[in-house]
Amino acid sequence: MSLAGTELPPLTVTFKRDDLVRYAGASGDFNSIHWSDRMAAALGLPGVIAHGMLTMASAVRVVTDWLDDPADLVEYGVRFTKPVVVPDDDKGANVTFSATVGKVADGLAEIDITAVAGEEKVLGRAKAVVRVR
């Protein structure tokens, strides 16, 4: 069986303001741009933005949900290319993650991940390396 080219089941997550507050508490990242419109505006942002690390954590779920054991993740990296603006409403912001297996060699598979919010890619060069059997 060839893994290369396999598309992993995609995932859409919704970030609402309370999700950002919950992530702030759990991660200890209380940077005010993630909860205060006033502070976000003062720094020239279009609004409160999601923690990049929350987007990164969500993106890798596509990979770890696909693995039998998340401990098989060997490497994971992203670039934060666009902020995810999270409005103060009941709808929040949707981000859709998808992933495709690339090169497979020596028991390791490279997986390319894309993350899209609205029309924009919010992560760049998002890639995981996992052990495969």
Binding site: A26, A57, V60
Partner: protein, 140 residues
């Protein structure tokens, strides 16, 4: 003072070790909306990006170095990468040391890369985190 390339190699160790608790792992997994059973139960591992939470204690020390002259509200997290020797698990007692690896300047913007080594307090390697920050000194 401001950060420059002569500061490459400076290392900052988090004050005290971090004791990983299973309820903290579950709280973090809940906060990222991840219901994976590996992050729950009696003997959980932590979600991959939990490494950043532990590493950020070393980053706090780095940001506290007045000679670098960095301000959190001028920093944007540009890129992040993790390499795992093994997952973080409940019961681990983890030491974190951040080392500046690259400093590049482009006008008022400083691009800083640092690498954070997470090990057990006995020195067993767990994971390495590589972070890229942009620090903008311009007054907006």
């Amino acid at each position: 003072m401001t950060i420059d390339a002569t500061m490459v190699g400076r290392s900052y160790t988090a004050a005290g070790s971090y004791q990983v608790g299973r309820e903290k792992i579950r709280e973090f997994a809940d906060a990222i909306g991840d219901g994976n059973p590996a992050y729950r139960g009696a003997d959980p591992i932590a979600p991959p990006t939990f490494a950043f939470v532990i590493g950020s204690r070393a980053l706090e020390e780095l940001l506290g170095d007045a000679e670098l002259g960095l301000r959190l509200d001028r920093i944007v997290h540009g890129a992040q990468k993790f390499s795992y020797t093994r997952p973080i698990k409940a019961g681990d007692e983890i030491a974190a040391t951040a080392t500046i690896t690259t400093v590049r300047k482009a006008g008022p913007v400083e691009v800083i890369m640092y690498e954070t080594a997470l090990t057990t307090v006995d020195g067993e390697p767990i994971a390495t985190s590589t972070s890229t920050l942009s620090h903008n000194r311009a007054d907006t």
